[in-house]
């Protein structure tokens, strides 16, 4: 069965056979760009559809069911609507920042994708500081949100942006510490190394207490970082109407919307990579029949399955919990999550030094 790794190698070999190495690299860049944009639109369609169906399922509703079979093309129809809608720029806004902000948020979401390992040996860029790269880039999205909120010349947008700023900056600490726990256990920042270290068992199984704590903290922190309920302070529909994107319409709004979902995908993919073994199949013991069956499932399916499971968990949060208040949100981070994750880091270090993990 041709795996993604196999296809990628075929393309690489063919391009190098046809063109000079420099030109081949250029074509590879081009293909990657097209693929990422394609992935973006597919992710947007799939995740928005998933969100609608999950919420409908939890809320005694049917969800969209008119366009296409079971309403599958509803998001396509919505996208078409958003594209043909007038992208209004209200009077009194800072035009440059207002128009730039959605693109910054979008670019950040795109760049984060680079070190992600989508299947076995299928990765855009296996940078040796992979985890660090993701943490660094993801914190840039707050700039886009602040720009949007400030440039909109709307008090609700400004409040939303300020909330978002405070929130993302704080929760990044906890998310970072949770990632560091795995980095310490693995001893490497490289995504491929982290995944390979889990070939004999995912970190969530063999990492003892610190990984469990780190996983819970990671899930809470990324929910906050992606501005999802119960931490959707930046939008807080019932308080700030729509927060930082109140004034946006048409495709500019769609970019924010899409970036939100792609960010969810990225953080869940990261969670799946670090805690749930990335593309590694589920194994029990060594050499049993069960393991062999698991090996038959392609690595890309494993990765997608784990990622979508985490995405489902985050959606589940959204449709179950009420929203926190802004001061409670910051209290939770600075008074509980941060001390716990710092202590957890020490614990993980201790376990690694003593070699107590499996």
């Amino acid at each position: 069965m041709p795996s993604l790794e196999h296809i990628a190698n075929l393309v690489h070999d063919w391009l190098n056979a046809q063109f000079s190495p420099g030109l081949a690299l250029f074509f590879e860049f081009f293909i990657i760009g097209v693929l990422i944009i394609g992935l973006f639109s597919i992710l947007g369609l799939v995740l928005i559809m998933m969100e609608r169906k999950v919420s409908a399922w939890m809320q005694l509703r049917l969800g969209p069911n008119r366009v296409g079979p079971k309403g599958m093309f509803q998001t396509v129809a919505d996208t078409v609507k958003l594209i043909v809608k007038e992208g209004m720029t209200p009077d009194g806004v800072d035009k440059l920042l207002f128009n730039l902000a959605p693109f910054i948020v979008m670019i950040v979401a795109m760049v984060i994708m680079a070190p992600l390992m989508f299947a076995k040996n299928f990765q855009i860029w296996d940078i040796n500081i992979g985890v660090f790269f993701i943490t660094a880039i993801s914190s840039l999205s707050v700039i886009g949100i602040l720009m949007a909120g400030w440039a909109s010349n709307n008090k609700y947008s400004l409040l939303g942006a300020m909330r978002s700023g405070a929130q993302i900056v704080s929760y990044e600490l906890s998310a970072g510490f949770a990632l560091l726990t795995i980095v310490i256990l693995t001893g490497d920042l490289k995504i491929s190394a982290i995944v390979n270290a889990q070939s004999d068992g995912w970190w969530i199984f063999k990492g003892h207490l610190p990984v469990w704590i780190a996983f819970v903290i990671f899930m809470i922190a990324v929910t906050a970082e992606t501005n999802r309920a119960p931490f959707d302070m930046a939008e807080a529909e019932s308080e700030l109407t729509a927060g930082f994107h109140t004034e946006y319409s048409g495709m500019k709004f769609a970019l924010f919307f899409l970036a939100e979902y792609v960010n969810i995908f990225v953080v869940c993919a990261l969670g799946a990579t670090l805690f749930l073994g990335g593309w590694q199949p589920l194994h029990f013991g060594t050499g049993t029949g069960f393991n062999r069956v698991m090996d038959y499932i392609p690595s890309s399916i494993w990765f997608a399955g784990k990622t979508f499971f985490l995405i489902f968990v985050i959606m589940w949060f959204r449709w179950t919990f009420p929203r926190l208040r802004i001061d409670q949100l910051l209290n939770l981070e600075w008074k509980y999550l941060l001390p716990i994750s710092m202590f957890n880091l020490l614990l993980a270090t201790l376990i690694t030094i003593m070699g107590w993990h499996f």
């Binding site: 919420s55 939890m58 809320q59 005694l60 509703r61 008090k155 609700y156 409040l159 909330r163 309920a229 119960p230 959707d232 807080a236 529909e237 019932s238 308080e239 700030l240 109407t241 449709w319 179950t320 919990f321 009420p322 929203r323 926190l324 208040r325 802004i326 001061d327 409670q328």
Partner: protein, 375 residues
């Protein structure tokens, strides 16, 4: 008439940010306009600007006959329209000195309690939505829909029923009414525990609710609060208990009281009221007496000269109807003392020092219905 919206942009206190919450805002559940002075996220002052849905029902009623004006009152507090109609019908009956037949009294009370349940379930969903949980809204509508169906069968309408007329009720009950109500109670008994599980016990919800929007007992009385808002502060003010009308003196029910005075106390009072209303329904539904549904009244009603005041307990509190009659076929003056108007006046006092998120939660627990405030 087109109305120019007065947008307030500047605060007299320098350094405060002024935001106009409403008239279109997801949390005001209608066209309430709050001018909120904030410092960072902390609220300094809340100034309600009313009148976006003012239809001058009081003035309108002055030119409508004693049969007609009742229908307009369905549009006041549209979530407890039965009780509005009931209060008005009682006021006219007081003037006419008409005794309502027992069957009509039972039907009226049953309808009132069904309305109260419908209103409180809708409030529960909207309240949860205000604090950011979207799912309860749909759960609440499932139950409310059942009541609306029951109403539709008997009254022919789902929201503005116009069912109570001076002297009794307009039509007899639908043959399946009792069965439907019993089915509903059975269904709702199991669902109300689900409400508790999903929202009441949630730690985030409790954190949002406890200790915010505190209204002391003295303040609640001074601001003229009534209904669950006042009962959350420990003020016993249930008209059904204190000044029983119709058959409320024949049924056993408790007046839930909480003493904390915060948003959570008001929330708990309403949830307990749901249970009490169900218990009232259970006591009444099986022994509705046979008989007339309307007392015999003249075609054209004329109230004697004088003043008549009745009060009824709506889902939001005490509704007072004050009719001044000059002996004619239309009221000389009508005043509706609406519960929301007085409850809203306490909002500024409650909200100061809180956060924007608190303000939304407080408005949720006050259960404001804007047409009820503006009239």
């Amino acid at each position: 008439m087109y109305r120019e919206t007065a947008i307030v942009n500047e605060s007299e206190v320098t350094g405060d940010l002024v935001i106009n919450m409403g008239p279109q805002h997801p949390a005001t559940h209608g066209v309430l306009h709050l001018v909120v002075h904030i410092n960072g996220e902390t609220i300094r002052k809340v100034e309600p600007h009313l009148g976006y849905i003012h239809r001058s029902i009081e003035k309108m009623s002055e030119s409508l006959s004693y049969r007609q004006f009742i229908y307009v009152t369905s549009r006041m507090d549209y979530l407890s329209s039965h009780i509005n109609n009931h209060a008005c019908a009682m006021c006219v009956e007081k003037g006419l000195q008409v005794e309502v037949p027992p069957r009509a009294q039972y039907i009226r009370v049953i309808m009132d309690e069904l309305t109260r349940i419908a209103s409180h379930t809708l409030w529960w969903g909207a309240m949860a939505m205000d604090v950011g949980a979207l799912t309860p809204f749909f759960l609440a509508f499932r139950e409310r829909e059942m009541i609306n169906d029951i109403m539709e069968e008997t009254c022919g309408a789902r929201l503005t029923m116009n069912y109570m007329v001076p002297g009794g009720v307009m039509y007899d009950l639908h043959p399946l009414f009792q069965q439907r109500v019993k089915e509903f109670i059975k269904h709702f008994r199991s669902k109300i525990d689900e409400y508790d599980e999903l929202v009441t016990g949630n730690i985030i919800f409790q954190n949002r609710m406890k200790g915010v929007g505190i209204l002391t007992k003295e303040d609640a009385v001074s601001y003229g609060c009534s209904g669950p808002t006042a009962r959350g502060s420990g003020v016993s003010c249930d008209i059904r208990k204190l000044y029983p009308y119709e058959v409320y003196d024949k049924v056993q029910f408790d007046e839930p009281l909480e003493t904390a005075g915060d948003s959570f106390a008001r929330y708990l009072v309403r949830l307990q009221e749901l249970r009490q209303s169900m218990s009232i329904l259970e006591q009444l539904i099986d022994d509705i007496p046979e008989g007339d549904i309307q007392a015999k009244t003249k075609a054209v009603l004329k109230l004697p000269k004088g003043e008549f005041y009745t009060r009824a307990e709506t889902a939001r509190g005490e509704l007072g109807v004050y009719i001044v009659s000059e002996g004619g076929t239309t009221p000389y003056r009508i005043k509706y003392r609406s519960p929301g108007f007085s409850n809203l006046s306490a909002l500024d006092h409650m909200a100061r020092g809180g956060k924007i998120g608190d303000l939304v939660a407080m408005m949720g627990t006050l259960d404001l219905v804007i047409p009820d405030i503006d009239r």
